[in-house]
């Protein structure tokens, strides 16, 4: 830090940064992207390993043989379900009781903010059924959960069958130290959310539900199961949860060890494991899986019922049985044995899962990238913003008359970390100078343009800031609030109205600069946009930094798209080009692009029309998930990044 207190060296660094700003930015950006791509190569990816001592070996003799029983249960369940048209609650209660569980039900009701067209539901009422296997001689302080979500159609009946057969098998064993809750939820995730909120006796999302009659202490881990056929070719595991939360890596390791032990074919993101990591092929295949994971994590949706458990610090994952056209198939016994093994190992846990990583990326099931290794990628991208902020600061303060005694002051703001502090300091100066015009006018700096003293105070920046923030607020509030009005005046359904209002407000924001300029009469052309850009850059850097810390994938995706445009934007030069770049990198277009990339990586490419349809669905789902599960992507984009992006748009069209 002596480096910073020495004015001579400070000045040298400032000059260096100012002169080499563009190459440094380009270098930093390229380094960030390259680092991210390099994550799949062996020195950066490591083999996964089990950290938790209690789950160390797989020395468990699985004894589950209830394959026929599971199939019978599944058949009965499917039949009863077809007959009643909804979850056969009475049958489930009876079956659970017959295998010796303590059975309870919970009814819930939720009116969605607007009709959900993908799942065809609006006013949802359902019943969850759960049975508790009490561990002998224990005091019900800890429990594990096996959950099966049941959607509106009659999929997942095999999972219910397996759940009941496993319950029957588990009930006959004496080694349980933790209670096991067997949970069947109706309306898939809505039911899970209702049950979880009732279990923890809170109300986060405004769902109405009956209180739970039976509880089993603190839930330690949960496994969600989705199976729709009697045989499976592979088991796909999903880890991405609500707001990009991930379960402890040890839970995934546990699943993987039992996959290996039982010889099951296990996949991640629907992709097989690459075998050869020494050549180029393995890492390239890993890169696809990694990108898929980044896209799914960035979406912040719960990709399975497990995602909702993570909020309550319950480590959870979802297993999906896939039945494709492969030749080798496994029956329910194999899946049941893997689950039995996992539950017996989880039963051994002495503490909550905490030993292994909570932040990781997975290029394959047996490889991971730890947080220490992937963070530099986001760091390099954010460094671009840091460099831009310092250069803008230096430039805009050079434009400033040398009225202050701190001649060396602009030079101080060099190293990225210090930027924010000094930006604040600059603010103070701008503000002070606005108040003391005569002092500012006394000594015009050499080479600076003649300035109107009270050019850029806080006040002139307040207008664009407030207007863009108000646009964000409108984007957040209006679509859902005004859906009925929109549906009355236009021939659209409520759900469409929400999406279209969303898009309309979003696009209307692009007209903002013209509106602003009527409000703001900017007398100081250059310093005005610089100050605005400075604020926008700091705002963006702060937001991206915070997002990258909590949800790396989202932070990285947004940084990779928004940073170049944000760095380039200025009201001179090829404006149409900049405008096009800004539009392409705006949050909504990033979402659209991500959808295309996602389907491309899944090897089901989209046509343009399909892509647009999917985009509209994604928008509606994003808003719905915010209201029903508390997903944060929609408010982050609407209240944070969209206004920030509008500021850059404003800078671009500054007159």
């Amino acid at each position: 830090m002596g480096l910073l207190s020495d004015p001579v060296r400070r000045r040298a660094i400032a000059r260096f940064i100012l002169r080499l700003n563009t190459p440094l930015c380009v270098l930093s950006y390229v380094a960030g992207i390259a680092w991210f791509l390099a994550l799949v190569f062996p020195p950066l990816t490591q083999r996964t390993y089990m950290s938790e001592n209690a789950m160390g070996s797989t020395m468990v003799e699985e004894q589950f043989v209830g394959g026929d029983r599971a199939r019978n249960f599944a058949r009965d369940f499917a039949a009863h379900r077809r007959k009643s048209g909804s979850l056969p609650v009475a049958w489930l209660e009876r079956s659970m009781r017959s295998v010796g569980l303590e059975v309870y039900t919970q009814s819930f009701y939720r009116k969605l903010p607007f009709p959900d067209e993908t799942h065809e539901r609006y006013m949802v009422s359902g019943t969850n059924v759960y049975g508790i296997l009490r561990a002998p001689r224990a005091a019900s302080t800890e429990s594990l959960v096996l959950t099966v979500p049941c959607g509106p159609d009659s999929t997942n009946s095999q999972a219910v069958g397996l759940l009941l057969a496993l319950a029957a098998h588990f009930r006959g064993q004496i080694y349980w130290a933790k209670d096991i809750i067997f949970l069947v939820t109706e309306h898939d995730l809505l039911g899970t959310e209702a049950w979880l909120e009732a279990y923890h006796d809170i109300n986060v999302t405004g769902i109405q539900s009956s209180p739970l009659q039976g509880r089993a202490g603190a839930i330690q881990a949960a496994v969600a199961l989705e199976l729709s056929s009697d045989v499976v070719t592979s088991l796909d595991v999903t880890v991405e949860g609500l707001n990009g939360q991930l379960p402890n890596l040890d839970l995934l390791n546990l699943f993987q060890t039992f996959c290996q032990k039982g010889g099951l074919l296990c996949t991640l993101q629907g992709k097989l494991q690459p075998q050869d990591w020494t050549s180029l092929e393995g890492p390239l295949q890993g890169l696809q899986t990694l990108l898929l994971m980044v896209l799914r994590q960035a979406s912040g949706r719960p990709h399975g019922p497990h995602g909702l458990f993570l909020r309550y610090r319950v480590e959870a994952l979802t297993l999906r049985g896939i039945n494709s056209f492969r030749q080798y198939k496994y029956d329910l016994v194999a899946v049941g044995k893997a689950l039995e093994g996992m539950f017996r190992k989880l039963n051994h846990l002495l503490e909550r899962l905490h030993q292994s990583f909570f932040f990781y990326l997975l290029p394959a099931l047996s490889r991971f990238v730890s947080i220490g290794l992937y963070m530099p990628a986001a760091g390099f991208l954010l460094l671009v913003l840091g460099l831009k902020i310092s250069s803008t600061l230096i430039l805009s303060t050079h434009l400033w008359p040398a009225s202050n005694p701190f001649n060396s002051n602009p030079i101080q703001c060099l190293v990225g970390v210090l930027d924010l502090v000094h930006a604040l300091e600059l603010w103070m100066q701008l503000h002070e100078a606005g108040g003391n015009p005569e002092e500012a006018g006394k000594a015009p700096g050499p080479g600076s343009p003649p300035l109107a003293p009270q050019g850029v105070g806080l006040a002139s920046l307040m207008a664009p800031l407030l207007i863009s923030q108000a646009m964000g607020l409108a984007l957040y509030v209006l679509p859902v609030l005004g859906q009925h009005i929109a549906a009355q005046h236009f021939p659209v359904a409520e759900a469409e109205a929400v999406v279209l209002t969303l898009l309309a407000i979003y696009v209307a924001g692009l007209a903002l600069p013209h509106n602003t300029h009527r409000v703001v009469s900017s007398q100081v052309p250059d310093r005005g946009w610089m100050a605005l850009k400075l604020v926008a850059l700091i705002y963006l850097a702060l937001q991206l930094g915070c997002i990258a810390l909590t949800n790396f994938s989202l932070g990285f995706l947004l940084a990779a798209t928004m940073v170049p445009a944000a760095a380039l934007t200025k009201p001179h030069g090829p404006r149409p080009l900049y405008a096009a770049l800004l539009v392409v990198t705006s949050p909504a277009v990033t979402l659209l692009g991500s959808l295309f990339l996602w389907r491309e990586l899944q090897e089901v490419p989209l046509s343009l029309a399909e892509g647009w349809q999917l985009f509209l669905t994604a928008l509606a789902q994003g808003v719905l998930e915010h209201y029903t599960y508390g997903a944060l992507l929609f408010p982050i984009l609407a209240l944070g990044l969209y206004p920030c992006w509008l500021l850059f748009w404003n800078v671009l069209f500054w007159k």
Binding site: M1, H200, D201, R215, G217, R311, E351, N409
Partner: protein, 476 residues
């Protein structure tokens, strides 16, 4: 079974007067009995009771001083074999003869419920209570699970339960009895069959309802001598109806609500399932200090309305010294659920105060509910000495109600826990960050900087300045 059952090892040292014995009675050395209760679910509960009395010179002085009353719980402790062995050694016949031959650890710990207790108290020898004797009462209750131990079958025998049969009474005992609950089974068309035929039957009001017991006396020579061993068998003639499990009038449930590591709420649900009688309950909560209770958030609601407790005693915690103590007398309306909830904040412990397994969570001891539960059938107060020992488990006060003490489940609460896996790294990093960064940042932010003109002139100028200073003239 519906009531939450705590398995905490509980040592209740009752210093209070146990003046239930009226007149001078024969001070028998040992009475032992076993009560077998077949449950409608197919499970079987077995309760052993052993009572030893002796005279001693250790006499009680004066009345009970409540200042010396102590209450302690170890919520984490689970009863296991090492608790059973010393417990058995307190029995006069150890496990050599009498009912105690059935106490084999491998079977007793193959059950779904296990509870073991030791009570010791002084007993007045006469009505004036001029001298006392001491009573040691040991009870052990287990519930055999039809699913696990019965391999799905619901017929039971002593051999099946304990892998032993009774061969003789303990020679030191004055009474050695086995009771089998045959209430409801003997009356209507016999769903349950007990063999061999009991020596007698016994009827009484237990837990507010009429109960009929088949009694086997081990001192009855005919009972054992026929086959050299007594193996009592229960056979269900018709499989019991598992759907309708009877619900006790009073049961309770406790849980922690909320998520995250900052705040939470302790909730206790008290169920009164009596159709028309309300009754008061004394709720005692001892909460460790590291859950900082907010007493103003204490809410008690039943049937959607606020329920004001008629008595509250609250003793706030002192950090690292004393837990919170909250005692309330709450009236439970008939057929209602009463929710008692209080919010808390989780304290940050000192790093040496964490247990070796901090991520397991910290236990909060169960709440204790004491209540006089109304009976269905009026019972007359009985002669305590004449009636079986199990009768005194739920003492009847005035005939219309019986006393019940319930323990809710203990709770497991996670406290904010530092990452202990790399303390050295953490300490080093924190110290470095604080020392290097904070200091310099603070310095940079508070200091004002002036540019010092580069020195020109070098040695000559410095020399000149030295001379000027010596002359008292301002330097160049």
């Amino acid at each position: 079974m519906a009531a939450a059952m705590s398995l905490a090892v509980l040592l209740l040292l009752l210093v209070g007067p146990g003046c239930w014995g009226h007149a001078e009675h024969p001070r028998d050395s040992l009475r032992e009995e076993l009560v077998i209760t077949p449950l409608p679910s197919g499970d079987v509960a077995a309760t052993f009771q052993f009572r030893t009395r002796w005279d001693s010179d250790l006499q009680r002085e004066g009345d009970t001083d409540h200042y010396f009353l102590r209450y302690a719980v170890l919520p984490r402790e689970v009863v296991c074999t090492e608790n059973l062995t010393p417990w058995k050694k307190l029995l006069p016949c150890s496990s050599k003869a009498g009912l105690s031959v059935l106490l084999k650890a491998d079977r007793l710990f193959h059950t779904s419920y296990h509870s073991q207790a030791v009570h010791i108290r002084p007993i007045c020898r006469n009505a004036q209570c001029t001298s006392i004797s001491w009573e040691l009462r040991q009870t052990l209750s287990v519930v055999f699970d039809a699913f696990i131990t019965g391999q799905g079958k619901k017929d039971w025998s002593l051999f099946r339960m304990f892998s032993r049969t009774l061969t003789e009474a303990c020679p030191l005992a004055s009474q050695s009895l086995v009771y089998v609950d045959i209430t409801g089974f003997s009356q209507d068309n016999g769903t349950l069959e007990v063999s061999p035929a009991p020596s007698s039957t016994y009827q009484d009001v237990i837990l507010g309802t009429w109960k009929t017991y088949a009694v086997y006396d081990l001192f009855d020579t005919a009972m054992i001598n026929n086959s050299r061993s007594l193996n009592i068998q229960l056979k269900w003639k018709r499989p019991p109806d598992t759907e309708a499990l009877p619900v006790p009038f009073l049961h309770a449930q406790r849980y922690v609500s909320g998520y995250g590591l900052q705040k939470g709420e302790l909730s206790t649900l008290l169920y009164n399932s009596h159709p028309y009688r309300a009754f008061p309950v004394l709720l005692l909560d001892a909460v460790p200090w590291y859950l900082r209770l907010y007493v103003h958030t204490l809410t008690i609601t039943s049937k959607g309305k606020e329920n004001k407790p008629s008595y509250i005693h609250y003793q706030p915690a002192q950090d690292r010294q004393q837990p919170h103590l909250l005692e309330m007398l709450i009236q439970l309306p008939a057929n209602s659920v009463t929710k008692v909830s209080i919010q808390f904040e989780r304290a940050l412990l000192k790093w040496t105060e964490y247990t070796p397994d901090p991520n397991h969570g910290f236990y909060v001891s169960p709440s204790v509910l004491s209540a006089l539960v109304p009976s269905v059938v009026a019972a007359k107060p009985v002669d305590w000495e004449g009636s079986p020992l199990f009768n005194t488990l739920f003492p009847v006060s005035d005939g219309s109600s019986y006393f019940v003490r319930l323990y809710t489940e203990p709770l497991l609460v996670n406290l904010p826990t530092p990452d202990f896996s790399m303390p050295y790294n953490v300490i080093c990093l924190t110290c470095t960050v604080v020392a290097v960064c904070y200091g310099s940042f603070y310095n940079l932010l508070t200091r004002t900087f002036h540019i010092e003109e580069p020195k020109s002139g070098g040695l000559a100028k410095r020399l000149a300045n030295l001379i000027r200073r010596a002359r008292g003239v301002p330097p160049l």
